[in-house]
Amino acid sequence: MFGKLTWSAIPFDQPIPLITSIVLILVILGVLALVTVRGWWGMLWREWITSVDHKRIGIMYGLLGVVMLVRGFADAVMMRSQQAFAVGAHRGYLAPEHYDQIFSAHGTIMIFFAAMPLVIGFMNFVTPLQLGVRDVAFPTLNSVSFWLTASGALLVNISLFVGEFARTGWLPYPPLSESAYSPGVGVDYYLWAIQISGIGTLMTGINFVTTVLKLRCPGMSYLRMPMFCWTTLASSLLIVAVFPILSATLAMLSLDRVFGWHYFTSDAGGNPMMFMNLIWAWGHPEVYILVLPAFGIFSEVFSTFSGKPLFGYRSMVAATLFICIVAMMTWLHHFFTMGSGPAVNTAFGISTSVIAVGTGVKIYNWIFTMYGGRVRMTVPMLWSLGFIFTFVIGGMTGVLLAVPPADFLVHNSMFLVAHFHNVIVGGVVFALFAGLDYWFPKAFGFRLHEGWGKAAFWLAFIGFWVTFVPLYWLGMLGMTRRLQHVWIPEWGPLLDWSLAGVAILVAGAAAQVIMLVVSIRQRDRRRDTTGDPWDGRSLEWATPSPPPFFNFAQLPDVEGEEAYWTIKLRALESQRLDPEPHYQAVEMPVNSAVGFFTAFFATVTGFSLIWHIWWLAGLGLLGAFVGFVFFAWRDVHEFHVPAEEVARADRARRAARTALLGERGAEAAAS
């Protein structure tokens, strides 16, 4: 009846997961109770859960990402403290099978459910605003994408309480991940969680390729798009190109595990190396899917806070597309040691090093953007400067690893762990915090606290280096990754340093939380009434903060690059806004619950496939199908916002803008 699911799946005898799960369940129940008591359900359902507004969906992605970032960070703290304690005769507090689940969950959660949702969240929130349009190409599909991602995240977290998670790392290498060696449900949790969220990501990619290529406001030709839109495009193209590979690979592994097929088994003609090639043909582009939008965020920040157009815009576009293409030709550097031979290794070593050229172009462009500008040292700018320093070093250790003979020495060591954190934390995570501070006023209408923001930056920056320099060192000394216990006492002090770094990082995370709390409490004082708090250059700053759900009363007409900057300078020079447009009714897509229902059925189906409850899986699929037909049957797809409402919103915006022009402008507005 319930497949492999029995009471023994609940970890009654393991205090750590049991207590964590109970606390988690209590927190969730508490939140649900609060929502019920306050009577927020109706509002939540109407304005968030069924929303197809790209800004709301972006914010929900952000929320999911932040929660998962905290979960992943908790795993990291556990791993670092275990390694610091379990040296020599000491055993630490985590059993090997538990430690293995933690590092697997940490990597999986950080990449798929923290970094990806946050990056996609920014793409959602920012891109349509910068393109000067009212929504993405497929708003309802967008909601489906989000909810599928949430469904995957839910499945991973259910594994904490029901059953177990994979012990095979964030990429389940066969033959270890085959049912012969991993008979439990851990790998199945991984497979179905990632399969479901991966489909959501693929649809996001399709959505944003179409949005950027087909939905731009009048005059927004390719070479007038802000850099962030270019990186959204490049990242989405990569998603479309490689996420199907992930789906295929995971499907093959599932077939092996469930039906005893032989794609990757070590017997009967299976081929584990095929898995390596397929998974990294997805996996390496994946890191660029994450980091290209991060580069986009930095480009916006550098240009805004230097008060200058982005230096070498065209070379920046070229470098982005160059990286986009070369990213797909380097995957083999992840397994130089697995016997491809010197010729193949050399080719991939060179292609990998070549990628650094594109990145180098970008670094110089950012530096020259600051050169000669009047640089404002705001919080986003601090993160961006910290990024340049950190990322250059991470990139250089990467180039070192790209040299096959050198890689043979440090492959799968702590050096590797330090390298990829150096680029992922220094590149992606710093960008996410920069973007958070930069676009927060746009999303919520008030600025974040500067002092706490700066404290958070310095703690994260210092904490990062204190954590990871010892790991580089340990890697050079020969410590391999994923060790639950360390035999060599001389490594102890370095592991302690690393743990101290994590303590600083915890303080940094606390500073972020305080920043949020303080800012929210002071929100009335911190209001951004102008819509342009940073003196920005692209079209999102032409809208009020937060923007109305239809973004623009009238689609802007772009005359050059830096669309909003041109408009602003003209207004400032003439001390007058462009004449008021003739307002017309606006057509917007209606809300839809299809995303939520699809995700619900996807979760049910995924869960039953993990536990081999076949009838329930069938039921789940049927439910999803019925949901789709129901959706297809709708008669109303759009609703009209009357011209008066549009006019009212836009006149308020114009009044705020006029006030911004300066004393003379304010007088004109008053008279």
């Binding site: 399709i206 390729v209 406001c217 030709s221 007038r224 003609g269």
Partner: protein, 230 residues
């Protein structure tokens, strides 16, 4: 609001005189062509957006198939002492399957022409014909698989058979799901008529169905023809 808002913008105006040629900052891009969604003439029409997005989806689906083709290429000879491709191929049956699928695609194209002429009867007749031919294809393929299984030729036997059943089965699964989609399209055309969004969906369905044909041509040549002659 005081004069210290917009510091960078004011600064730029002040310094304009220093950079008369606006170096590194000239306007880019050619003039826009109206109505296409290209070159910055404003958002494209719904029809173009839907069709375009679906093309992108199809490209991703092609990559999915490419992975299964690649595994087939890698595992072709990994027979583990079991049957080879030669033992599997039943040419007349494969020819019949191919015929059914190609005719089905043809019928599908005709149904689209009928839909464009807003002829409901013929649209429906041809869509149903498309579906029946697709069903014939799936039925023949299933029969082939069952026959093979009867001779002990199953995916569990070897890496090669895994890759074979995976690739051909994935295509069969696509045709089956396409058939389910087709059934809902028939119902939609029947009850909703040729509304714009139904027409968009018909466009997408046509693209999908023809794409499956193209993939089948690949399977037919690479798996069956090359297998029979190997």
């Amino acid at each position: 609001m005081s004069g210290d808002a917009l510091p960078a913008a004011r600064e730029t105006l002040r310094r304009r005189g220093e950079d008369p040629h606006r170096l590194g900052h000239r306007a880019h891009g050619r003039e826009a062509v109206a109505g296409t969604g290209r070159g910055g003439s404003g958002p494209a029409s719904k029809r173009i957006v839907v069709g375009y997005g679906f093309w992108i989806f199809l490209l991703s689906d092609v990559i999915l198939f490419a992975c299964f083709f690649a595994t087939f290429a890698v595992q072709r000879d990994a027979t583990a002492g079991g049957p080879t491709m030669r033992a599997l191929v039943d040419m007349p049956r494969v020819a019949a399957e191919t015929g059914a699928l190609l005719l089905s695609s043809y019928a599908c194209g005709l149904s689209y022409a009928a839909a464009n002429a807003r002829n409901k009867l013929w649209t429906q007749v041809l869509l149903v014909l498309t579906g029946l031919l697709g069903l014939a294809f799936v039925a023949m393929e299933l029969q082939e698989f069952v026959g093979l299984a009867g001779r002990g030729i199953v995916p569990q036997r070897s890496g090669f058979l895994t890759a074979f059943f995976g690739l051909v089965g994935l295509h069969g699964l696509h045709v089956t799901l396409g058939g389910v989609w087709l059934a809902t399209m028939v119902a939609q055309v029947q009850f909703k008529g040729f509304r714009p969004e139904i027409m968009h969906r018909l466009t997408c369905f046509n693209l999908f169905w023809h794409a499956l044909d193209i993939v089948w041509i690949g399977i037919f040549s690479i798996v069956y023809l090359m297998g029979a002659s190997a």
